[in-house]
């Protein structure tokens, strides 16, 4: 069949020129049992990842995570299902990016047409990986279109650095007095090289560099942690209108660094020290004072500093971290991402 031949040719070209297919990706790094447990709790039949701790809404981030996890679980059926929902319900913006939020209880389900660039990155990344590894040109083409959309409306220059707008509206210097405002946890480091293969014209390597630089300079307060939202209008500082905290956004930053292969001991140790509470818990921190705002004990959070110890010091993960029992959408997602990484790159910690 002509179509299939063409698809193979395209995919072949892509993998030859990019060389990003790893053999391990072709095999599942998330077990079928873990994925089943995850999707039974957080994926509904329509292909929607449900944020159960957040009014059962869905968002581009969740859809991107869902597609990435389905890819890592090598489950093509669920991948296509999640992508179908994402495409028809979120990929609506004129610039080709995803609207960020979908509410089950409103009509229309979309009430804010803005995007979230981490969601866009995750969706494009998962599409690119799946398209490439599964020889699916349709997915690959969609990934390319989103990558181009991100570089066109999401990347911007600030003081000779290439940065990532958190969303198309509301964060620039024109939009707010303390703008531009960025979210360091929107740098999905592992996705950025893939974007570079999808859209080679944009300065993606500059984006990686700027993200690392931000983590170096935005070590705020006695615990030297980055805030969720960072103002860059002058010296980096927590943005107005948000609590000046290391919180649910920034908590995933070490995981992103590790999954991208980063082993910068100084940076990772600083983050681990700053975020760790008693008994391996994770603390969300008021940055100016350094006092904890909340202590998190969900394995999905605790696995993050534990993974730093795994990578830096070969420390084994505790049993309850190795075992996946879905709790709520966000920490469970983080835990599966961490376990997948351990499975693929650090089996010695398991």
């Amino acid at each position: 069949m002509r179509k299939t031949v063409l698809a193979c040719m395209v995919a072949g070209l892509v993998s030859m020129s990019l060389g990003w297919v790893t053999h391990s990706e072709a095999q599942a790094s998330i077990s079928s049992a873990d994925w089943t447990a995850y999707k039974e709790k957080f994926l509904d039949g329509s292909g929607r990842i449900v944020d159960d701790a957040n009014g059962n809404i869905s968002h581009s981030e969740g859809q991107g995570y869902g597609m990435l996890l389905a890819f890592l679980a090598n489950n093509r059926g669920d991948f296509d299902r999640i992508w179908s929902f994402t495409r028809t319900e979120l990929m609506l913006r004129d610039d080709g990016l995803a609207v960020w939020k979908w509410s089950p209880d409103t009509d229309p389900h979309i009430t804010d047409p803005n995007n979230a660039s981490d969601g866009d990155l995750l969706i494009a990344y998962a599409l690119g990986m799946a398209g490439n590894n599964w020889n699916r040109p349709d997915l690959y083409q969609s990934a390319t279109a989103i990558a181009q959309g991100i570089s066109k409306t999401g990347l911007f220059q600030n003081q000779s650095r290439t940065l990532l707008m958190p969303g198309a509206a509301g964060f620039s210097a024109e939009d707010r007095t303390d703008g531009p405002v960025v979210n360091p946890s929107y740098w999905v480091f592992e996705a950025i090289p893939i974007m570079a293969t999808l859209d080679p014209k944009a300065n993606w390597s500059g984006l990686t560099a700027s993200g690392l630089k931000l983590l170096e300079v935005a070590q705020i307060g006695p615990r030297k942690l980055p805030p969720d939202w960072l103002s860059l209008s002058s010296a980096p500082k927590p943005a107005n209108g948000f609590p000046p905290e290391f919180s649910y956004n920034a908590v995933r930053i070490p995981l992103y660094l590790l999954r991208a292969g980063n082993t910068d001991r100084k940076l990772l140790e600083t983050l681990r020290t700053g975020m760790s509470g008693p008994d391996g818990s994770v603390e969300l921190v008021d940055l100016p004072s350094g006092t904890p705002v909340q202590t998190l004990t969900d394995p999905g959070y605790r696995i993050i500093p534990a993974m730093i110890s795994c990578v830096l010091d070969k420390t084994q993960l505790a049993d309850d971290l190795k075992t996946f029992k879905p709790t709520s959408y966000y920490p469970s997602t983080l835990q599966l991402l961490a376990l997948s990484f351990a499975q693929r790159s650090h089996p010695e910690c398991l």
């Binding site: 069949m1 299939t4 039949g45 329509s46 292909g47 093509r76 059926g77 669920d78 991948f79 296509d80 299902r81 999640i82 992508w83 179908s84 929902f85 495409r87 028809t88 319900e89 990929m91 609506l92 913006r93 004129d94 080709g96 609207v99 229309p108 389900h109 979309i110 047409p113």
Partner: protein, 743 residues
């Protein structure tokens, strides 16, 4: 190949929920969406081929076994359109049993609209069986169904580029069977500045789709989105019933209404008379307040206040409302009937900012009637609290003049002072206050004002000069003191000036800006909107290019005339100060001219007065001429006119003198804010001399002040045509006043 396939080429037959099939021309839409905008119904040639295409009958079988006759019929029709040579099975229900249960399940999910789950099922089966290929039919239908969802979702959140983008890659979606998608795509074109393509898309529907309700709705949807010319094109696609009635007849009425509504909002807009006739007929037949209102606003914005009045009254009769009252008040003000306007709007005055503004306009106009007419005490007593409440400096000033008109100088002073407390830079009120103090013989008060306004107002500085003509007040019967501001204002002590609204309160006719409808928000308060630089200064542009023959500066109307035509024998010394009454008539005449040359017009006028005693006609004429010029130079045009009448003048000199006099009158009247008099003087002057460019500009500003915007614009436009900058500024000022609305 059947006829339909020949005609339509690659057609798609689609299925709606209601089971109606319709033909859609993919070729049309492809070209439309691809960007060439051509929407011709041209047949596509299908490349002849010897190979019989393999027809996928999976769906056919599935629907047949489900007993879903509607979908079965649709599928047969679709396959026929795609494959003209294909012959459907004679008995679709007798088709051989399908043994592929997993594919059945996919079709079932598809028919339930669970597209994501179909995707999942396909991918899972392919994972399990790498050789299995889903039927192309299923994949195509799935893609179209998903695209449809995407289009509808994107359209709902106004992401019109996405709508067009997705439609362009799924043209088979665009069929009469799914009219909602067609509408959304057409709207996306219209809303993303592709009106031509929107017109083509709506036209496509009207040419191809047959459902009567949907055809009507198509035009209704196009109406707010397309310009009239495009709508006319669509109306040409109307189908007639056997009895001759058009299917869009009811929409033509709405179109006329929409047209008049658009003209209400834009006084420049020219609409077909047939639209006005239609709405007029509708208003008479159906007696809807909305139609009458639309006509009222239409006429009031076109300086036809009598017509407007008629329709606003009709609107009131149908349904009394603030809007109707507001429009009626405007129409009455335009007809110089401010008293009725005030009465009509009083009860609605607090409805919104617009009614307040128009009410205050009525009040100001009522107070500004010249000569003043007594206002009934109950009217006055309800107006005054409104003026105080709104801190309307223009109206307070008018109360001042009104009181002055009835020689209630003390009360007038209080009102002028009140106006100044609300608007400290209000020169006309300051002038009024100075004048009242002078009339009340309050020398200290006058000096105080003159010191305060030194360098800012010539006429304030001139108050108290001996030749000032004391305005003759008309004795009135209304006890103004009752309505003085002191008691009322005392209720709100120490309120600072907070209302910068009125830059140039008028002393005479003040017509409010006519509002846009149906958004009368645009209406203006009755005061003057900022109309650019001080118009008087503009009206006397000393450096301006004027045709040589007309080069007589308005402020110095006498010098050239005097130099060229005054008698020669005026070289006697006149530097000394003497009483001219001791001189002979001839000497006095000479001395008068001499003093004119020294620019001592006040003394010159006295000398010419003596010369008037001369027995010779020529000398008397010269003396009258001279005295007239002297008064003109003093700015005392009334006295100049009297002087000019003291002896008959040669025709040429008479024309010259009268021209100068009328020029001075016009500029003088303008300076004092008496716009109507300005225009009257200019009209008279225009009868004996061509109107100079600067005076045209003056006339334009007078019209602007009177809010006769069309007249102002006409004048400014004519003057601006010669490259006159002041006129161009005037045009801009008219535009601002029209649009700027609320101060």
């Amino acid at each position: 190949m059947n006829a339909r396939a020949l005609l339509f080429g690659a057609s798609a037959l689609a299925l709606t929920a209601s089971g109606i099939y319709a033909t859609g021309k993919i070729g049309d839409w492809s070209s439309l969406l691809a960007g060439n905008g051509v929407f011709a119904a041209q047949a596509q040639t299908v490349a002849p081929t010897n190979e019989k295409p393999k027809v996928d009958e999976t769906a056919l079988r599935y629907f047949a076994r489900q007993g879903d006759q509607k979908r079965l019929d649709a599928e047969i029709a679709r396959l026929r359109a795609l494959y003209p040579d294909w012959i459907p099975p004679e008995d679709p229900l007798a088709l051989p049993q399908q043994s592929d249960q997993s594919l059945d399940a996919m079709w079932k999910l598809y028919s339930e609209g669970k597209f994501a789950e179909v995707r999942k099922a396909i991918a899972e089966r392919q994972t399990a069986d790498a050789t299995w290929q889903p039927p192309a039919d299923l994949l195509d239908r799935l893609a179209v169904a998903e695209a449809r969802e995407q289009i509808i979702n994107a359209s709902t959140i106004k992401q019109y580029d996405t709508v067009v983008r997705v439609a362009s890659t799924n043209p088979s979606l665009l069929t009469c069977g799914d009219i909602d998608v067609l509408w959304r795509v057409a709207e996306a074109f219209a809303q993303s500045d592709r009106k031509d393509r929107a017109k083509d898309a709506y036209g496509y529907i009207l040419r191809n789709c047959t459902n009567p309700e949907e055809r009507l709705a198509t035009v209704q949807k196009a109406m707010p989105l397309l310009p009239r010319s495009d709508l006319n094109t669509l109306f040409e696609l109307e189908r007639k019933a056997p009895d001759g009635t058009g299917e869009f007849a009811v929409l033509r009425d709405d179109l006329a209404r929409q047209s008049v509504a658009a003209a209400d909002a834009d006084s420049e807009l020219v609409i077909p008379q047939s639209d006005i006739d239609t709405v007029t007929r509708l208003a008479r037949e159906e007696k809807l307040a909305s139609d009458a209102l639309a006509l009222g606003w239409y006429y009031v914005r076109r300086d036809e206040p009598q017509q407007a009045e008629e329709w606003f009254r009709a609107a009131q009769a149908a349904e009394d409302s603030a809007t109707a009252a507001q429009g009626l008040a405007l129409a009455l003000i335009d007809q110089n009937r401010p008293s009725e306007a005030e009465a009509v709007l009083y009860k609605w005055r607090d409805t919104n900012d617009d009614t307040k503004a128009v009410y205050m306009a009525a009040v100001s106009n009522l107070l500004a009637v010249v000569p003043p007419v007594p206002i009934r005490s109950e009217v006055l007593s309800r107006m005054v609290p409104e003026i105080v409440k709104s801190k309307d400096a223009a109206a307070a000033q008018q109360l001042g003049w009104y009181a002055d008109g009835f020689n209630q100088f003390e009360t007038a002073s209080q009102w002028f002072a009140t106006a100044l407390s609300w608007k400290s830079d209000d020169e006309p009120s300051a002038y009024g206050l100075t004048l009242m103090r002078w009339k009340l013989d309050n020398q200290i008060g006058v000096a105080e004002m003159q010191q305060q306004w030194a360098g800012q107002s010539q006429r304030i500085a001139r108050v108290g000069q001996p030749d000032l003509q004391r305005p003759e007040g008309q004795r009135g019967t209304v006890p103004m003191a009752t309505y003085g501001p002191d008691q009322i204002v005392a209720a709100t002590p120490g309120q600072p000036y907070t209302q910068p609204a009125y830059t140039q309160p008028a002393q005479t006719q003040v017509a409010p800006m006519q509002p846009a409808q149906p958004a009368p928000r645009e209406i203006v308060r009755q005061g003057q909107p900022a109309a650019g630089p001080a118009p008087v200064a503009q009206a006397q542009p000393h450096g301006q290019v004027i045709a040589p023959a007309q080069r007589v500066a308005a402020s110095q109307p006498v010098q050239r005339v005097a130099a060229s035509q005054a008698p020669a024998q005026r070289n006697a010394g006149c530097s000394t100060t003497i009483d001219p009454s001791v001189l002979s008539a001839q000497s006095a005449l000479n001395r008068g001219w001499c003093l004119m040359e020294l620019n001592r017009p006040l003394e010159a006028a006295d000398s010419f007065q003596v010369a008037l005693r001369s027995l010779t006609g020529q000398a008397r004429e010269d003396a009258a001429y001279g005295q007239s010029l002297a008064y003109l130079r003093l700015g005392l045009s009334d006295k100049a006119a009297v002087a000019a009448a003291k002896a008959p003048q040669q025709k040429a000199r008479s024309v010259e003198l009268n021209t100068a006099l009328l020029t001075a009158q016009a500029t003088g009247a303008f300076e004092q804010g008496r716009w109507t008099e300005t225009i009257m003087a200019l009209d008279q002057r225009a009868k004996i001399a061509p109107e100079r460019m600067d005076l045209m500009v003056l006339r334009g500003y007078a019209f602007l002040k009177l809010r006769r915007f069309n007249d102002a614009e006409r004048i400014f436009r004519a003057a601006a045509g010669t490259g006159n900058r002041d006129a161009q500024r005037g045009l801009a000022a008219v535009k601002d006043a029209r649009e700027g609305g609320v101060n």
